[in-house]
């Protein structure tokens, strides 16, 4: 991931610098969930990544440039017209990455994180499905008689 743009409707931005910081932090968390952090439990019922070495959080070199775009819409029900800028921007990252993956290689992953190994396995499964589909279509007519 080279760059992430995230636009968030926060109502009135009471402190725009803090709102941008909230968006950046949320994007970082969302990216971590989407690409690296794995809550896998092994066959003994133990967490497979119980330490900060095995539970991979992104380091500064793994975090791309983030462009935080504040969309202000004054909410008459909110305090001074504000909504929120906490968790909202996080959620957009996961579908955005899922769509980017689908756009790039044509596979849809259903389980986080979207690791290179899972993408590779999904591509192999897709190729296999296409192969069996083609071979069943190209079977000679009347061969089932």
């Amino acid at each position: 991931v080279h760059k992430v743009w995230c636009a968030h409707d926060c109502g009135r931005a009471l402190n725009p610098t803090l709102v941008a910081g909230q968006i950046e932090g949320s994007v970082y968390m969302g990216l971590a969930e989407a690409l690296l952090e794995d809550h896998d439990v092994n066959r003994f019922g133990l967490h497979a990544g119980p330490s900060l070495l095995d539970y991979r959080i992104p380091t500064s070199v793994d975090t791309p440039e983030i462009e935080a775009l504040i969309v202000e819409s004054i909410d008459p029900e909110g305090p001074y017209g504000a909504k929120e800028a906490g968790e909202g921007p996080l959620h957009s990252v996961l579908p955005a990455l899922s769509n980017a993956l689908f756009d790039a290689v044509g596979v849809r992953l259903r389980h986080l994180p979207f690791t290179p190994g899972k993408v590779l396995a999904a591509l192999a499964a897709k190729r296999e499905a296409e192969r069996t589909d083609v071979s069943s279509k190209s079977a000679p007519a009347g061969s089932r008689s």
Binding site: L36, F44, L46, A48, G49, P50, S51, L53, D54, R56, P58, T59, V61, D62, T115, P116, G117, K118, L120, A121
Partner: protein, 340 residues
């Protein structure tokens, strides 16, 4: 919070004093240089020791020196950061500078040493965990237990050599100088390894790695290192690829070597690589084909196990990719090969 067990720290000033302490305490002592791997392992209760022998005051173990006739002599307690930044190493053994520059993260390389990385213990997802965690599964073959969780029913520990410097030094045909109270001996690095994850070296607890001797390489030497890992920093390798290409003055390959790590208990030298590449002139179609053949050989010969974290099928699929890219990088005097 994980606590260190109780131990005494000895601070000798000479190699002879270190060896006397190791002879006295045997397996109940460990040497500590950077401690970047030893201390987490002690917190995980992987070693039962009484004494830590600190090497920080032993000046004769540090420094990179130009060896006779173009080689290198590197003190075992020289930090990885120093080796990676050394102009001498970058010029004479680029594969080693690149490998040391990709070990863990910057803070680890500032503390951690080349000798520590060479002598790194093997790693496995079932062993590098807290005592509590390991106890919950009944321990394993490597420490405190009788079962292997990687190869069910397995009688031999398959924890993986995970040191980036090992394949680099193996590709350079380095020699290691060990000292013990019985004297000094030189061991070709190829002869250091055993295929046993419990302790993958032929040396014992009384042996101290003193220096790493890299022989002079041919004039047309090229080398590069490739490292696969989940993140751009910190992580141990999911795969490490060290490459040596020795060329003549027409840039035709005379000899070649590809050594991989993070597969099994010892670094793996891919067989017949030199035969595949010999005679190919860099930059030609023949070289491109030879690189493909080397990648095929590596893929055929190497079978990652579920010993370290990471999908073994993915790690295997990446073997030809990294062998190909690292050979190309070496040919162009480039590298390292890394995703960031």
């Amino acid at each position: 919070m994980l606590r260190l067990p109780a131990f005494r720290v000895a601070r000798p000033r000479t190699v002879d004093e270190v060896c006397a302490l190791l002879a006295e305490h045997g397996a109940r002592a460990r040497v500590v240089a950077g401690g970047t791997d030893l201390l987490p392992n002690l917190k995980h209760e992987l070693y039962d020791i009484d004494v830590l022998v600190a090497l920080s005051d032993v000046d004769e173990l540090r420094g990179v020196r130009a060896g006779e006739s173009g080689g290198l002599s590197i003190g075992a307690a020289t930090t990885l950061a120093e080796v990676a930044a050394s102009e001498l190493v970058r010029e004479r053994a680029p594969v080693l500078a690149q490998a040391c520059g990709l070990v863990a993260g910057p803070q680890h390389r500032t503390m951690g040493t080349l000798g520590g990385n060479v002598m790194l213990d093997t790693r496995c997802q079932w062993i590098n965990q807290s005592y509590f965690w390991r106890q919950a599964l009944g321990f394993c073959l490597k420490k405190d237990g009788t079962l292997c969780h990687v190869v069910q029913g397995g009688q031999k520990c398959v924890a993986a050599a995970s040191n980036d410097s090992a394949p680099a030094l193996t590709s350079l045909n380095a020699t290691l100088a060990f000292q013990s109270s019985a004297g000094r001996r030189a061991l070709p690095i190829e002869e250091l390894w055993r295929a046993d994850g419990i302790w993958n070296k032929v040396t014992g607890p009384e042996d101290l790695l003193v220096s790493i001797e890299v022989p002079a390489q041919v004039a047309g030497h090229r080398g590069a290192y490739g490292k696969l890992r989940d993140r751009g920093s910190i992580d141990f390798p999911l795969l490490g690829v060290a490459v040596r290409l020795d060329c003549d003055d027409r840039e035709a390959v005379v000899d070649a070597d590809v050594v991989l790590v993070a597969l099994q208990a010892r670094p793996v030298r891919v067989k017949h690589v030199s035969d595949a590449l010999r005679g190919a002139v860099l930059g030609t179609d023949a070289f491109a084909e030879a690189v493909e053949e080397a990648a095929r050989l590596a893929h055929k010969q190497c079978h990652p196990l579920p010993n370290i974290p990471g999908d073994p099928d993915y790690r295997r699929a990446m073997i030809p990719v990294y062998v190909r890219r690292t050979l190309r990088a070496a040919a162009e005097r480039g590298g390292p090969v890394h995703h960031l």
